[in-house]
Subunit: 768 residues, 2 copies
């Protein structure tokens, strides 16, 4: 764990240059706008340890699979988000001395990410070979025009008089550090440079994604525009070179505008022309205007999604950091995009979609944005349905059964560990659950017959074939699976999997029967289109009624899987400190046969399907499973925290909250340098809203059952519900509900329903 | 399946050049002597598909592990047998036309491996660019001086008059085709060439094995030695070049002697000098003498290990092929060597030791060679004990517990699939069983206190820690294992594993208690040395008495693992033909959750521990498991065949026998081109001796309970027992026992004991 970021409610500040944490800070200071993004790399040359990263949403490369031992059914490749053109680069030379913070004496230093406005800046006072100067930088990826990035780079000479050279460039000589076979993923197409502008145009190998990265730049010396500019061009790199004679006290400012134009977002047009047009438009508007618009867009975003915490600046910084990155990663305007595990902050794990999206991220976007954003996440999977059916077919399933991939970008499976790829099939359940979640939140029933039921029926067909009748048990069983707890592989009858499989069948049948009741013609059409026979529905019913759930009469708990109680049940507290985390200290077999749980598994089911169980049942299961859960997935603590809130165990809930709230800011797991844990950030958001605030949507009504952690004096947040913006402020003694909309709204608080008129707010004093 | 090898009792003959099967024939025609060996590559340049392979026993390279997803505990490398210097190479040019069978017109062709004498030869009549000639080659790896190889290469011109050039060389420009990262595994040390001799000296990277490959050659033209020789030298390659003017009808013969000298076998001496000395000695003796001695050595070997089958030439060829390769691969003179899965016939899987050695190969060497050969196989593991203890320590075990590697060359684990590496722990049982097998066969009790008990106790300590007490079952369980049937991974309570674990404890305690009874002082010393406490022995006893064995009361069978009967039990016959073998057609998860068994698992236990079960029990288990066994391991059918013999089901036994007897000769699995299935060859030998002939050793007595497959008119074989050579001939109506030794011997035939005087033979007529 690290503790070098200055505590601030709105900013991430590194106030001395920590070279040893540079890659961590690069990750923390990543900026993006859902379309383009990059790590917080320095503009100028840096010879120290760095992970260069510039990314474009949707642009990926199918990197050839690397395995030790091939198993039949493994995918040929792993789709990876690509490192793309570096457009922030500005090289600085004082005579023949190159500016390099790795070899400079740092006199003062501040790197600052302003999350409120989405602007990354840096102030450095440094000396290099007796040349003393001050650098001041500022840059952003426009939240308004999402293909445009701006950078402003100033150098003030303190004591130096002499030649200074600035090269502002776009460089497409980039690699992915985690490429399986050290391949270059880009083919060169063309490049151009003149005094007006420059661009490099490349396309990805195999996938043929065309990307044109262009720039314009200008330099001012003490506010006077300098015309001394010449052009540079080398392989995949073009630049403007400014050679200036500077005197002590003079200020040189380079302003750079970049446009990253990709065929993915524009189709088959002349990308080069478009790139030039975009640059012309942007530079005509100018840096100050662009910056103001950008800031305004971020402020608007914060109105919808901010969480304010009073009395705990560290918690405040943590939650805003999470919300900021969620809003940078995904904006929900393109249903081909999704939420990669590292967003625009790193390249590890590929930039692909996991079940995290449905299980953890969807609620955030459902509550903090218009419903079209969440809907696009669902449409993403709908568009992949055919590939999910093909994926299932590869594994021997037929008749339109769909198995969604464990990891994907384009709908095809990328993952290559049999115990995950082939066996972690509960992901299908999460995709169905997301449909339920969306419909429940939005009331958008039309989604079901337009899109949802196609997916649900295909998933049901998978479960129907994936269960088998056990003559021995005279029930249906699901053999050979990996549950959410990936510290168990290839188990039989994982309770969560069996439960969600059965739930999928149940929910789909409910949807069908509702549809039949409400719109028989639509129902008939759908039944015809999907070729659903009465026999099929009968079989589903039979499975629902006869599914086996491992249960121990003695403990009165559902077992994570069959035979779980043959393990030695030891609390996590008995693991020697030096052996934590166990996944870094124990061999895999030892982890597997231990009782220790990586992330919520049975409890994930209790979270999803909370209304199916009494508080007493929950309490019994929580008390059994929580002490043996090591939470070695960043996705785990939020679920435990939410459940602990329901049980009134706020201390436990807060303990769990702390485990993820500042996961990246404090580099808890020593891996933030690879990039941030984007999807788990949504879990932290849920811990506050669904946990502490007890927010639920039931029968179209937003309900709260709030509590306030002891060391917070209060907290508040806004949500979007049915197109209306509502906010809630929770303090230990009172609750303030506010309707930001013109129309009235009903909100349930614990057992009481409050009606708020347009723009009305209500304060409710809590009685103990 | 292919059927192009000419049926012959002693030879492998390819009588037309099958280019498409060239790599298969190269594998089949591999020759070796336990120290050096190579594939049946052509001497001259060949531009077609070929797998070049020259190997030296014990010389390996630690190839960096390649995995998709690293698991804690994986080994850093996979030890691979190395492709070493090519010494057979002879390049031939007619003017500027290079001899290349890939571009020649083949007028007649015969490649022949004489297994009786261990000589590989070839006769080719060919035309290339209107040049007609006859090539005749012969070569062998001396079975007498095991570092010497000989090659004789003749060209008879039919119609060609003109210059002919022969280059005889040693070439160390070699690679392993299955290198994980395409690395070159050899560093160059030095090389030398003069008209007398030449050598190339390289050493392996990382492991530093030094190898000097030298050669001498001479050329005769129509029996006249030619002196026209010049030297060639290029990077890692030296040669003699003979430029001759030849006339139609003339015969040119090149004789080449090579010496492959390795530090592994000689320690720190001047390998170059030694190489030269060896060459001088060998060439002084000359080709004809060396060949005669070599043939004699093979004939002697055959006296000990031949199996004759009458009335079935195909079966005869198959079994001799297997015996031949077993005797080529391992000769038992060096306890650092073992039986790699491909021997000297290919590089796949590394050249490492699996549990195959103990479970399948040991019986062959126990019965066909002096006991020192089998003993060396045991000493190999004894010498690796410390590394097995370290291996277990890496996985969290302590107090001297040993887990032998799944795959090894030097005692360290090489394998990197968690479900095998960490979980296929029954291999420890096979290593203990081999000690039992050896002591039972040889009566060599001293082995136990000198070596065996150290290994047994360390294995028991592993089992003691690997079991855990199930509060739920109130018995000991073994969770998370892979049994012999690798089509199940990470199962709980694999019956075979639980059984052999308990047996290890039982056998070790028996050995200790015998030792106490017979030599209390030795016992006390051992107990002191191994620090065995009464508590420890008590714990072992408790485990033996309270081990859990999954059993189904209804079927009255032991279950392969817990929950096995939750599967759909479908006979193999119902798998659609097009989906066989399932491991090439089904995804891994589908295989795992199916009932289908790759290789004997419960039945492996019934084979090892046959006296623990009644015929009726065996019959019940055989009838349950045999129909669901797909035998997709070449190690499987032999066990089923032996058990079927015990049950009197000779048809089934013969069906199973046929599945492996000609596995490689007929390229049954379409993978012989990668090399031969050496370890499964021993299984075929067992099928005849332990299966059809019902051979067992019990209480020091060799017993037979023979039967004869219907389409054989008879069969016979010899075995070594207690230093005496005994042979048995089995025909449908009579048995002939023969004592080849001067001393009397007792042999049990079914229920009767026969005493045979020195050199006596007895014919027993069978009554029906």
């Amino acid at each position: 764990m690290k503790d070098y970021i200055v505590k601030d409610p709105w900013k991430i500040i590194e106030d001395t240059f920590k070279q040893e944490y540079h890659k961590v800070t690069e990750s923390l200071c990543s900026i993006g706008n859902g379309m383009i993004g990059h790590r917080g790399n320095f503009e100028e040359y840096y010879s120290g340890e760095t992970l260069q990263g510039n990314y474009i949403a949707g642009i990926y490369y199918p990197d050839k699979t690397r395995v030790g031992w091939w198993k039949n059914g493994y995918p040929e490749y792993f789709a990876k988000v690509l490192n793309s053109a570096n457009w922030i680069g500005i090289d600085v030379w004082f005579g023949d001395i190159r500016l390099d913070l790795n070899h400079a004496e740092i006199l003062s230093y501040k790197r600052e990410l302003d999350m409120q406005s989405g602007i990354l800046s840096r102030q450095v006072h440094l000396a290099i070979h007796h040349i003393e100067c001050k650098i001041s930088t500022e840059r952003f990826c426009s939240y308004v025009d999402k293909e445009i990035g701006w950078s402003k780079y100033s150098i003030e000479s303190v004591n130096y008089s002499g030649p200074i050279t600035l090269e502002s460039f776009v460089d497409f000589n980039v690699r992915n550090q985690d490429a399986n076979y050290d391949e270059n993923f880009w083919d060169f197409h063309c490049q151009h440079i003149d005094v007006e502008w420059g661009h490099v145009f490349c396309k990805t190998k195999k996938t043929d994604f065309k990307v044109c990265a262009g720039f314009k730049s200008k330099v001012e010396i003490d506010d006077q525009i300098s015309a001394d500019k010449c052009c540079s061009s080398s392989e995949r790199k073009v630049g403007h070179i400014y050679s200036i004679d500077i005197n002590g006290g003079q200020l040189v400012t380079l302003t750079k505008c970049a446009a990253i134009i990709s065929e993915f977002h524009h189709g088959d047009v002349r990308l080069t022309d478009l790139c030039r047009e975009k640059l012309d438009q942007a530079t005509q508007e100018g840096y100050p205007n662009a910056k103001e618009k950008h800031k305004k867009a971020w402020l608007d975003k914060w109105i919808q999604s901010d969480i304010k915490i009073e009395g705990d600046i560290s918690a405040q910084q943590g939650i805003r950091f999470n919300i900021f990155h969620l809003n940078q990663t995904y904006t929900g305007t393109d249903s081909r995009l999704n939420i990669g595990p590292k967003g625009f902050t790193g390249e590890k794990y590929g930039g692909s979609t996991y079940w995290d999206t449905e299980a953890y991220c969807l609620p955030f976007y459902l509550s903090t944005a218009t419903s079209s954003v969440a809907k696009n996440l669902l449409i993403y999977r709908y568009n992949h349905l055919q590939k999910a059916i093909e994926n299932a077919a590869k594994l021997g399933f037929s008749d339109g059964a769909a198995l969604y991939p464990m990891v994907t970008i384009n709908g095809e499976e990328c993952h290559n560990e049999w115990e995950i790829t082939f066996e972690e099939i509960h992901r299908n359940g999460a995709i169905a659950y997301a449909i339920y979640d969306y419909v429940n939140h939005t009331g958008d029933m039309s989604y079901l017959h337009d899109y949802g039921l196609d997916v649900l029926v295909a998933i049901c067909r998978f479960w129907k074939q994936r269960v088998n009748w056990s003559n021995h048990k005279e029930q249906y069983v699901i053999l050979g699976v990996t549950g959410p707890n990936e510290y168990e592989n290839n188990v039989n009858n994982n309770w969560y999997t069996n439960y969600i499989a059965s739930w999928c069948l149940r929910y789909t049948m409910d949807c069908l029967s509702n549809l039949k009741g409400n719109a028989e013609d639509v129902y008939d059409e759908l039944i015809g289109k999907l070729k659903i026979s009465p026999d099929e529905l009968e079989k589903w019913t039979h499975i629902i009624a006869n599914m086996y759930y491992p249960y121990d009469e003695n403990e009165q708990i559902y077992l994570q899987q069959e035979g779980f109680l043959d393990k030695e049940i030891i609390p996590v507290t008995e693991i020697p400190k030096a052996e934590n985390p166990i996944n870094q200290h124990w061999s895999w077999d030892r982890i597997l046969r231990s009782c220790f749980i990586k992330q919520a598994d049975v409890l994930q089911g209790f979270y999803f399907f909370e209304d199916d169980f009494t508080d007493e049942e929950l309490s019994r299961h929580f008390d059994f499973y929580e002490p043996i859960t090591v939470h070695e997935s960043s996705l785990s603590p939020c679920v435990h925290s939410i459940l602990a809130c329901r049980l009134g165990n706020i201390d436990k809930a807060y303990e769990m909250y702390l485990r993820t709230a500042r996961l990246d800011v404090d580099d808890y797991n020593n891996d933030t340098e690879d990039g941030l844990h984007i999807t788990s950030m949504a879990g932290t958001w849920m811990t506050i809203t669904k946990g502490f605030a007890g927010m639920r949507v039931k029968e179209g009504l937003v309900t709260f059952d709030p509590t306030c952690p002891e060391n917070w004096s209060g907290y508040s947040f806004s949500i979007q519900h049915a197109g209306q913006l509502i906010s809630i402020t929770i303090k230990s003694e009172l609750i303030i509900l506010k309707n930001h909309d013109e129309n009235a709204v009903r909100i349930k608080l614990k057992e009481d329903i409050f009606e708020l008129n347009g723009l009305e707010s209500k304060t409710i004093v809590l009685t103990r």
